[in-house]
Structures are given as C-alpha cells and as structure tokens.
Amino acid sequence: MNWAVIFPLLVFLIIIFMIGFWASANLKDSNSFLQDYFLGGRELGGFILAMTMTATYGSASSFIGGPGAAYTQGLGWVLLSMAQLATGYFVLMILGKKFAIVTRKYNAVTLVDFLKERYDSKWVVLLSAFSIIIFLFAAMAAQWVGGARLIESLTGLSYTAALFIFAASVLVYVIIGGFRAVAVTDAVQGTVMFIGTFILLVATVIAGGGITNLISDLAAENPNLITPYGFDGGLTPIYVSSFWILVGVGVVGLPQITVRAMSYKNAKAMHRALIVGTIVVGFIMLGMHLIGVFARPILPGIEIGDTVMPLLAMEVLPPWLAGIVLAAPMAAIMSTVDSLLLLVSSAVVKDVYINYIKPDASNQSIKTISLGVTTILGILVFLMALSPPDLIIWLNLFAFGGLEAAFIWPVVLGLYWQAGNKFGAISSMVVGVGSYILFHSYYPNPLGMHTVVLPILLSLLAFVVGSLLTKRKVERAQLM
C-alpha cells in the first residue's frame, strides 16, 4: 500500500464526514423536516449552488471514462466534451427565475412535486417517480462500482472492502445531513475537482516537455489525433454535434440537476452561480480531457482507458500530490452518488409515500421514514454493487438519455407553455423513454447522431400533439 497516496484521501474523507455532522446539527431543530432534508431549506448561496450543480453533473465519466476516451481519440474527443460547457449556464438560465418562483408557490420539494401541481395528474406523478427510482437507482449502482474500483486500484484493497469504504463514507453524511450536507460536501468536492484538474494539467504539460512538444509527438504517432475527427476519422461532425443534446442542453431534463434549480436562496445566488458554474465546468471538462490526450505521448500503450488518469497522476506527480489529485475523481463520484441517493429517497418518501400512502404523516414520522428509506436504499445499492445484476447494467445505459427524454418537455414546456396539459406530459414521457429504449436496442445512432436525439424530438412532438388534441376535453373538465 502506498501511504503517501492514501493519506490525502483519508484527510479528504474526514473533512467530508465533518461536514455531514455539521449539517445534521442544523437539521435537529427543523420544523419543516422535508424542506430541510431534501432541499436544504432553499437557502443555497451562489458559490455552493454552482459547485453542487457542477459536481453532481461531473461524475466518474468526466474524470475516468472521459480522459480514457480522449487518450484513444485525441483532440476530437476534447471537442466533443466541450459541449458540456453549456450545462454551466443553460440549465439555470432556462429554468431560471420562473422555476424558482413557481416551485416556491407550489411549495414543491422535488421535481415531481412541481409536475404534480402543474399537471394535476396521478399518472404523471407515478410515471415520473417510477422513472426516477428505476433509472437513478441503476445509475447510482454503476457509479458505486466505479468508486469502489478506484479505491481498489489506489489502495490495493479487495473490491468488497473498497466498496464497503466507499458506501460507508457516502451513506453516513447523506443519511444524517440530507441535502445541506450533500450540497456543502459537493462544494468541497467540486473545489477538489477543480484544483486536481489544474495540478494534473500543469504537471502533465511539464512532464511532456511543453504543449508544442506534446502536440508534435501526437501528430508524429497519428496525425488524426490532432484533428477534430478522432483517431480513425470516425468522429463525424453530426455525431459530435449531437452530444450538445445529450450532455449540453438536454441536461435541463435531469431531475438531479433540476432539483438544484429550486434550491437557491435568491436572484443574486443564481447570478453568481451562472458565472462560477460556467468557469468551473468549462475548466474541468477542458482540462481533464486535454490531460487524457496529453497522457498518450507520456504513457503510450495503455490498454484500458479507465486507468489512464490514475496511472498518469502516479507517473507525473510526487506521491503525496498524486493523492490530492486522485481525490478529484473520488470527489466526482461521491458528489454524484450522494445527490442521486437523496433524490431517489425523496421520490420514495415524498412523491410516493406522502402523496398516496400517508398524506397526514407528522413531522416526526416523516423524519424517521426519510432516514430509514435513505438507509435502506443505500444498503440495497451496496448489495447491487457487490455483483451488479445484468438488469442494472442494462438500465444504466438508458439512465442519462432516458431521463432527459422523459422530463425535458414536461418541465420546460410545463413552465413556459400554458396550453401544455397532463395528456401531453404523459404521452411525452411514455414516447420519450419508450422510443429511447427501442432505438437503443434496434437502431442505435440513427442518421449518424447519438441515440438520444430522435427520442427527444419525438417526445416534443408527443407533448405538443397530446396537449392540443385534448385541449377541449381539459377545458370542459375545468368548467364543470
């Protein structure tokens, strides 16, 4: 075991724990437990808001998978990853102040609360709660596997032990501290991600003898690596551009991001978060993927993309600094997982249990149930991640795009198009998720674009047509 590397990781975990305890002390004297536990009492400031959005969004793929792909594909993959710059400002600007005002009026704690009040439909609520629980549970399990693998590779512990450490550290602060702990730890984790990216980028450029040198090494190995088209010319402009839907504008439909757009304190916080968020997300995405490309001349011949980033950090940095930098992917995974866990728990407790099973539950019993459900979910994910069933792996493939296709139009048009109604929302969700799964299975990447594009267009069509066709019916029902 390499203690110089492990020590900074331990310090990082201890800080995260302390934040959890601090946040739980804040929860003790709360008289609206739901609002506080699942939404932090809507009092996030600008910096924390920006960080929690960025860190929730930036996951294992930004730090492990992404640099690995950039290592193989070259600068074309960095270009593709820069579509994510839009997430820094687009989500907050689009949902913006209207979402903040409307969700306050609705007293909404979850995204599903918003949909429930907006569409007044049990089916909308059940469909959306169900897709959140299924898809995000699968996504969460996949991230846990990533977190455990990372610990396994850094410490040399067995997979089970690594998973246990990872699970225990996340569970403790999420269960006791709720949203506030998640958001504040996200801010720390986001900062670690930012600093880690910076250190590793600088060290990599130095180790490679400067940018000019690195680029000419790449061009000497394979000129395609420094074109926008990928190592074998396979990255077509339309394919790369279609990622603007998947990881750019479509992110508006991801419930774990959307819920953050209702958690901030005031307009100033939002303004600040727009600027900070754009800087942080742009820097991390540009930096990490560029690191992946630059790793190629320094460490040629790596077979498994996921190992590029950890191997590079150990190669170009002294051990203690590598430990700090390797806390970054750890932070990225934890900050995604903690948000997902809390969101799935809120879907079970608030959207299903309180809405339909026991609407008159007391503050105290809600508290017990929230903590209980979060714990049980955490243990379930742990068990799943021990040896992930095929179903989970399969579902995880759809988690990102599937949720976007399900929620983007019911949320955005629900906010801005008054004629949209529950029939439009239901058809949009069914068509979005259904067509995504069908395209993925039978006709992936239609017309050379990422699979997510057509389902998002189809769900838009379904929303508009569904709403217009039933306009009369809804108006008549309201008159009665």
């Binding site: 600068l75 270009l79 710059l85 926008p228 402009p237 504008v249 307009a267």
Partner: protein
C-alpha cells in the same frame, strides 16, 4: 382557469423578466454552438500539414475549445451583469 391555480398569475411582471432571461440562455447556447462548430470544422478540416498553431495547440482547437470557453465566460458575465434583474422570489404577504 388552471393558470391561476396556487395564486400564480401569468401576468406577474417577474415572469416577464424571467422569460427574457430564458431567451438570453437560448441565444447564448446558439452563439456557443456556432462558434464551437465554426472554428472546429472550419479550420480543422484542412489537412494536418497546413495546420497553424496557437500556444502550441492546433488553431482550430485553440479557437473552438479554449477561445470558446473564454468567450462564454465573458458573455455569461456580461449578460448577468447588464441584462439579469434582481427580483424577489417570495411573495410579499409571505406564504413561505
């Protein structure tokens, strides 16, 4: 009418501000995309021997990705400073 539910008045002047800001978001993302696409495939489609370099990076990459990032930070800051308005989120009257 359904729109008046929960005391939400679509004529609320704050919504006018919110709608304008949402359109700014759409405009910014279009600028972002056009800039990104234009430089990447405009300059990047030359053959590699003809590439020019800025700070050691191929020019297409520098302008599209590095330049595009800086441009967006500037544009977002500018939009927030000059076009975004500070409005209260709670109603005076104060249901929380």
């Amino acid at each position: 009418m359904v729109y008046m539910k929960h005391g939400i008045n679509q004529k609320d002047p704050r919504f006018k501000i919110a709608h304008r800001e949402a359109w700014i978001g759409v405009i910014l993302v279009i600028i972002n995309f056009v800039w990104w696409y234009g430089f990447a495939y405009g300059l990047g489609s030359d053959s590699v021997q003809d590439y020019t370099y800025v700070f050691g990076l191929p020019a297409w990459f520098f302008y599209s990705c590095v330049g595009g990032f800086i441009l967006m930070v500037v544009l977002v800051s500018f939009a927030v400073k000059f076009f975004f308005k500070d409005v209260p989120f709670e109603d005076e009257g104060g249901e929380s």
